[in-house]
Symmetry: C2
Subunit: 213 residues, 2 copies
């Protein structure tokens, strides 16, 4: 059965995002404090290292019922029986990813333009990641789409949407007000003095805007 | 059914090995002139690019009955239904790779020490790649094991062995004399003025040493 999907506070991380720290420690602190999804996005490790890290994350997140989603690497996801996969436009197609992971796993797709939204295989996916919402340094290739475009794309989406890119405590409310179901962050949690506190505050912001809506 | 495996002349290549040339053109020239296996080892492309290249190689090699094996990336292999996978010590374990690709695909494992040979999951694999046979610039991490060690490891192998690392027209005979079933090369074909002619000569060398034995 597919894991329940709550996109509210969606932590994306890999070794490159927390030099000198164990990503598992950050993921656990986030999961304990309201993170609803963790995505492993490892752009540096060997396949062996990525699988070992994914396995440790799976074990560590299990008690919190927080699904682990693997970015891009369907092989790593299959090797550890992760809860899902997230693909971008430079990765395997969503159609093929769904074929390989089967019907019981979560699948997310990154979209940043009208054309990408129009051609997305919606039937294969469980949610869309739309962005970058704001300028960001965490991903080289992500020009921000602007809040107006973000709201427009989100309004057209037939799937739940998580905003991504440059989201912080200072602007997370705008993303939810623009129609997103949640916020995906890297540095807002990984780069915070306390991952626990940052997650707690993000969860509060998301909840308070949703309660208003 | 598992493809027939003839390790005699085993071409390993990726975009990084033939700048300015199409890897598919080199692979076809090699397949037309006696290459018996082609391995895609793409260390630079995005997943999307790797899949597109693997698909083109699959199509191009089909008329020659030359199997395409994908290095490391089980996801890419599964996406294009490639003939097999080759894993190294920094990749997914052979055990797990076999589980994911099923019984009908070829699986190779790189081994370069006695310990790696002793702990190899032989039952999961179809062949071993042993090396580096000679000093090489094509792989950063490959110190050569020396011909004496190579012969010792090869003699103990319960599986067919392809030698790899620094093999050229000038030394390929030594690798077969040391007990290998074939030679795996990158630059001896990709870096040759004529991939076709280099492959033809390698095939002749391998055959003539085997005929003697």
């Amino acid at each position: 059965m597919k894991p329940l999907l709550d996109l509210s506070v969606y932590l994306v991380l890999g070794p490159q995002d927390c030099p000198g720290q164990d990503p598992v420690g950050i993921a656990v602190a986030a999961a304990q404090n309201g993170a609803t999804v963790v995505q492993l996005r490892d752009k540096t490790g060997s396949t062996k290292e990525q699988i070992e890290l994914a396995e440790r994350l799976m074990q560590a997140l299990k008690p919190f019922n927080v699904p682990l989603i693997v970015n891009d690497r369907v092989d790593v996801a299959l090797a550890v029986d992760a809860d899902g996969v997230h693909v971008g436009q430079d990765d395997m197609t969503a159609t093929k990813a769904r074929e390989l992971i089967g019907p019981d796993k979560l699948l997310g797709l990154s979209v940043s333009t009208q054309d990408e939204l129009d051609t997305a295989d919606i039937a294969a996916c469980d949610y869309l990641g739309i962005g970058a919402c704001f300028p960001t340094n965490s991903k080289d290739d992500a020009a921000d789409v602007g809040m107006q475009n973000f709201a427009g794309l989100t309004a057209q989406s037939q799937l739940p949407v998580v905003g991504i890119g440059g989201i912080s405590l200072a602007n997370a409310d705008q993303v939810i007000k623009a129609g997103a179901d949640g916020v995906a962050v890297i540095s807002a949690i990984c780069g915070a003095p306390s991952a626990a506190e940052a997650t707690r505050k993000l969860q509060e912001i998301v909840k308070s805007v949703k309660d208003l809506g």
